[in-house]
């Protein structure tokens, strides 16, 4: 009998008056879903939180799959009388979050057998989250999942599971092959080793977006971001522009909000000043049938993003304004290695890459890694007169 069947057998008799209130209303409810799984202990713990207005979960201890030191988030309640251990398995998602249904169904079966049957597509980092596995079931659960080619994702101070936008799979804006880059990086043995055996100062997140629209929110959530971009001129189909205008689109207004002041619309023709265009995608997104990025494409590499942290949030800034990409993306991998090595050596515990760079100084990081300084890294060069000279740079 699978765990879920066992759970369902213990009919849900537990009273959850507060959760029931939350369940009401038109939006599909997590409470309903938990009820569907028959996972009574979780329901009770959750109801208790609503009643007490504090969580009833505590640290989860050290749990995991032998050979892996990551991918399982330990979780225990503070009410062992109700439910004791309720860990999470993080599974690496398929690129772009595309699923064949048979793969999904098999995953459901395995999860019903060993876990709660409760799932999350997806966690905010992008992994599949399987919520609620008792300690003893971790090994058999993953044994079967692995057979179906579901690997554990990241957790702790490691190379976190990357993610990528839908890109070339269904978006005309994609200037890099987001899915293929993802696949290549996420099957690289060294990266997987860095993912499954945490040894870095803290987590390292990587996201890939096909264009500066950044639908994968890399700039806000990842230490390292690849964003597709073009270098040559934007392609403008004047007839299609005209059609948009005739259809009532206020192109003058769009031009007025172009951040590069690069659009000129005279009512007939749209002129793009390609030198000043900031590749922001605004006009292209407004007129997808008329405007398209140029053909000389590559990636901008951003560095240093992270939420909150010790100093408050940082957002990603361009380390490399333009890099040509070609499978198997060795130049990207090299860059990752250079940076993570530097960070591994210099970072303090619980210090994200951007924070280490901040503490030590971008300039020093560049000198030590051999990466090139570039005006695009900064909004403007420094405004304070506080910098250092290395011995040899000044006269004795």
């Amino acid at each position: 009998m699978s765990l879920r069947e066992a759970n369902l057998e213990v009919k849900v008799v537990v009273e959850t008056p507060l959760l029931d209130e939350n369940e009401k209303g038109p939006w599909p409810s997590t409470v309903t879903e938990i009820k569907k799984t028959g996972y009574e202990g979780l329901l009770q713990i959750y109801e208790l939180a609503f009643k007490d207005r504090v969580t009833h979960w505590a640290h989860g201890g050290m749990v995991g799959y032998p050979g892996y030191d990551a991918g399982v988030i330990g979780r225990m309640s503070d009410r062992h009388d109700i439910l004791r251990d309720c860990h999470t398995l993080r599974l690496i998602e398929p690129a772009g979050w595309f699923y064949k249904t048979d793969a999904l169904r098999k995953m459901c079966d395995i999860w019903d057998k060993y876990g709660s049957g409760l799932m999350n597509f997806h966690g905010a980092t992008g992994d599949i989250q399987l919520i609620g596995v008792p300690t003893d079931n971790i090994i058999p659960a993953f044994n079967e999942l692995a057979k179906e080619h579901w690997d554990l994702g990241g957790s702790g101070g490691d190379f976190r599971t990357a993610s990528c936008c839908i890109g070339p799979a269904r978006c005309e804006n994609a200037m890099i092959d987001t899915l293929d880059i993802y696949q290549t990086l996420m099957t690289d043995p060294n990266n997987l080793d860095a993912m499954h055996r945490p040894r870095w100062p803290y987590k390292f997140k990587l996201k890939i977006s096909g264009c500066p629209t950044d639908c994968n929110a890399g700039v806000a959530r990842a230490d390292f971001v690849l964003i597709g971009i073009w270098r040559d001129d934007m392609k403008v189909d004047q007839d299609e522009v005209k059609k948009y205008a005739d259809g009532g689109l206020d192109i003058g207004y769009i031009a007025s909000r172009c951040p590069g002041r690069a659009m000129e619309w005279d009512g007939e023709t749209l002129t793009i000043d390609n030198d000043n265009c900031m590749r922001c995608m605004y006009c292209i997104n407004k007129m997808p049938k008329a405007l398209r990025p140029g053909d000389d494409r590559g990636a901008t590499i951003l560095l240093g993003g992270r939420a909150r942290g010790r100093y408050g949030a940082f957002l990603g800034w361009p380390l490399i304004p333009f890099m040509k990409l070609e499978a198997p993306y060795e130049n990207v991998q090299e860059l990752i290695d250079t940076l993570t090595e530097w960070w591994d050596e210099n970072g303090r515990t619980k210090e994200r890459m951007g924070e280490t760079i901040y503490r030590i100084g971008t300039g020093k990081m560049l000198v030590e890694t051999g990466l090139k300084p570039n005006p695009t890294m900064v909004r403007a060069p420094r405004n304070n007169p506080f910098w250092f000279y290395l011995p040899g740079e000044v006269e004795e």
Binding site: W27, S29, R53, F98, L104, M119, F121, Q183, R221, P288
Partner: protein
């Protein structure tokens, strides 16, 4: 599993793509939003693909996943996809399937929408459902907000998209910090030190080093048997309740039924379009944790969206609108109080001061 069979990574995406995607991979020409929740993408091959996007609950039972698969099997060539914001996408090369998919997902209770100039799916963390650090229940709040704002999910005629995110605590797992509207659980009292746990389960020096405000000091306790026990004490006025210490030590929990609650932030943005990415900014430091429906939070979100929807110009995201009218006007229109807590006093604060004498007319009146 044998060691040498570990570390295999994700399944190959090529095996996960349906034909109608593989054939047109990298060949997309343009797209169109046909109606709220429904896209048409056109390929250079002439192919068309229709996508129906729906919302989803934060957690899904395997049972529901199977029902989703049923729909995907019937209309979508056995493929389903989730978005970067955890919506569900049902794709089909056949236009006729669109209505059928809409009907089928309707039966499952999955609302169609969240596209274009709509409220998109709310990103939220696990909160009280599964996490040990929350100051509030993010999935519960998200549900209450969704119920109230469903109409905004189902239209696409707002001035721009509005992204809402909820995180249960400052770890910000929902990455709320760049959202049009962010709801963030806040503790408001320092951790309560449990000396027994600290001395047995935690590394005191790392704990001390972890605190960004140097509020943690070592403490030695004489035990009954005369030996000394190493624990810590917290200098309360220096503590800003960030919870970083609790992240590494179970002996310093912050949860507090009376003082935990929700803060509201607005005006953030991720994309590099127009003015580029921007942080969400504090507008309400504290609303009570009024489970099960958080009416104060829901009303606040509704009000913010309503005023913005009525007043913003086209393509003005929340923050862009506020930038135009000014923060004073925003606080006035919303009836929110601007307090000393709204003025940054952390490391980079100086750079957020309003340098110069550049005041809007409304700010001088």
């Amino acid at each position: 599993m044998p060691m040498d069979e570990l570390d295999f990574g994700p399944p190959d995406y090529k095996d996960m793509l349906p034909d109608y995607i593989s054939k047109n991979y990298g060949k997309w020409k343009c797209h169109e939003l046909l109606e709220p929740g429904v896209f048409k993408h056109v390929s250079e091959t002439g192919d068309e693909v229709y996508t129906v996007r729906t919302g989803a609950p934060k957690f899904i039972a395997s049972q529901t996943v199977r029902e989703i698969c049923d729909i995907a099997d019937e209309y979508c060539g056995g493929c389903v996809r989730f978005t970067a914001k955890h919506s569900i996408e049902f794709m089909t090369p056949e236009k006729d399937n669109v209505e059928k998919i809409k009907e089928a997902v309707g039966k499952l209770g999955l609302p169609v929408g969240g596209t274009g100039n709509a409220m998109h799916s709310i990103v939220t963390c696990t909160g009280w459902v599964h996490c040990h650090t929350p100051a509030t229940d993010s999935p519960g709040i998200a549900k209450a907000v969704y119920d109230e704002l469903l109409p905004y999910f189902q239209r696409d005629d707002l001035p721009a998209r509005v992204n809402i995110a909820v995180s249960g605590c400052l770890n910000m797992c929902g990455a709320v910090h760049c959202s049009d509207i962010a709801l963030l659980g806040m503790h408001r009292v320092p951790p309560k030190v449990n000396d027994d746990v600290v001395s047995t389960a935690c590394e005191v020096p790392s704990l001390i080093a972890a605190c960004p405000t140097y509020a943690i000091k070592p403490k030695m306790l004489k035990q009954e048997d005369g030996t000394m026990k190493k624990s810590i004490q917290i200098d309360a006025p220096k503590c800003m309740y960030c919870g970083i210490c609790y992240g590494i030590c179970p002996g310093v929990p912050l949860a507090d039924a009376k003082n935990d609650g929700v803060s509201v932030w607005v005006g953030g943005k991720v994309s590099s379009t127009r003015g580029g990415p921007a942080f969400s900014r504090l507008v309400i430091p504290f609303l009570p944790n009024n489970a099960p429906r958080w009416p104060e939070v829901v009303d606040t979100v509704k009000k913010i969206v309503d005023v913005w929807a009525a007043e913003a110009k086209p393509d003005e995201r929340m923050g862009e609108w506020i930038e135009r009218i000014g923060w004073k006007a925003f606080f006035d229109k919303m009836g929110f109080e601007f307090t000393e807590k709204h003025v940054d006093d952390y490391i980079f604060s100086v750079r957020d001061m309003n340098w110069g004498a550049r005041l809007k007319g409304t700010e001088l009146k």
